[in-house]
Amino acid sequence: MSKVPPSQEQPDDVDDQYRRASALDPSRPSEAVRRAVLAHAAQLVAQRATRDEGSMIKSTRRAVNPAWWRPAILGTLAAAALAGLVVAPRFLALRSLPATATPSAEGSVAAPTLVAQAPDTRTDERAASAPAAGPESTAKPRASTRSADMPTARARPKVNAPVRDGPAPVVAETASAAPRARGEAQSTDATGAGLEARQRRAPGNTSATTAITAVPRLGAAVTPTDAAVDPAAAFRRAAEMGDLSGLKALLEKQADIDSRDAVGRTALMLATLHGQSNAVAVLLAYGADPNAADADGTTPLQAAKAGDHPAIVAALQRYGAR
């Protein structure tokens, strides 16, 4: 745990030679490994969260049930005993004194037999059964509300867990259907200038408009031809449009996550400049370099602050952006 430099022997010229040669060695682990590792790490966290929530629900049930069923059973028994005490003497009295029964008592006791005896009382029966059904019908929705609530309560952790756990790619994707739909619609006839113009016109896309105003060169480097031919250009285009499905597809095709355009902007930088917070979340979760500055030395964090994208600023900082 100590942060004290390890107690090595004196710095050695061999060590220096090794480090120099290592720095010059371009061998690197494959992009696929990095992606697999980071995706797996995010997935594990989501799974753990779901499992924890599930075990919490179970343990809550265990704790609650014993306390609940005892008073319920005792209450039921007490109610039955009370009803028996109240109703039984009346039955006994009716059997022993049928002639002296009061009209009210007679009516109340005879009422159930009326239905069977008089066919033309069906309307009344329906009317009478209506209030009887009333409590049932009101009870049913209540029951159904409960039963509907239960699965919702159980399902809630599954839905919320990844969101709480950070920008896991899957969640970020589901949470951003609108940007994706917009991105897909735009990508159908993608032309560089046309896209930007549409983005400027798009209602509700004020953040992107702000970013474009702040950075006049945005999108200028990637031509439609590039996007069609060069997967890296297509990847950056998907990032700036917030096209999450496109991003994911290109990541699976081994697109270089930190590839740069002519002015040194990575996909993360472009997504930041356009205020595409979901695309930023996906890129960070897949291991995009949060500190990759453009040719002017502007970092994504600086761009996010300049473009007034607090959500992106927060996400970048969580991933170690400076």
């Binding site: 107690s7 060695d25 682990p29 790490a41 966290v45 756990d165 896991a168």
Partner: protein, 190 residues
């Protein structure tokens, strides 16, 4: 050793508590070190990639069990070394450590294919990298392992001894012999 002022131990702790974002800087910080350790020990890039994935999967899986009684790098390189030994034992596609010189040819090809390097730079880089790879390949396995653990893991002699389950003195000797041998080999090349 920190990207944003946060220690490895703090990051792995955050990850274990459910903050997926903490894993990324941790991985980035140690990616190349672990990979070089593996690649230069097994002498095969594909195997190194496989092992790399296994190592980090294990880190992610066992993060909740990590106890900050030792440095994160000690734990990380212990996992890396164990995976590597398992791989050797199960006789996966494994280039003989003594034939690392053969791999140097691949390095040479990659370096000459580097687009930004001019012809002269390519030659210099090629020579240095190839010489290093060849020299490492000529070290006895234990010495190479100890040297790579120390230099890539930034570990102390004590930590290397713990990871390799060797005594302090043995480890110290291995490191000394490794450096002496490397110095000889590299000076021959120069």
């Amino acid at each position: 050793m920190t990207d944003a002022g946060e220690s490895d131990e703090a990051l792995i702790g955050r990850y274990a508590r459910g903050d997926a974002a903490a894993f990324v800087p941790l991985y980035r910080r140690h990616e190349m070190r672990v990979w070089r350790y593996l690649e230069r020990n097994v002498g095969n890039r594909a195997t190194a990639d496989e092992l790399m994935q296994e190592v980090w999967f294990a880190v992610a899986r066992d993060a909740v069990r990590y106890e900050p009684t030792s440095r994160f790098t000690t734990w990380l390189f212990t996992i890396a070394r164990n995976r590597m030994i398992d791989s050797i034992r199960t006789s996966r596609q494994q280039v003989s450590l003594e034939t690392l010189g053969y791999e140097a040819d691949l390095v040479v090809q990659q370096l000459t294919a580097e687009p930004n390097a001019g012809p002269l730079a390519a030659v210099v880089v090629r020579d240095q990298a190839a010489a290093l790879t060849q020299a490492l390949g000529q070290l006895p396995r234990e010495q190479r392992d100890a040297f790579l653990l120390q230099i890539e893991g930034d570990l102390s002699v004590e930590e290397v001894a713990t990871i390799t389950q060797s005594s302090f003195e043995t480890t110290k000797s291995r490191l000394r012999y490794a450096r002496t041998k490397l110095r000889e080999l590299l000076s021959e090349h120069a």
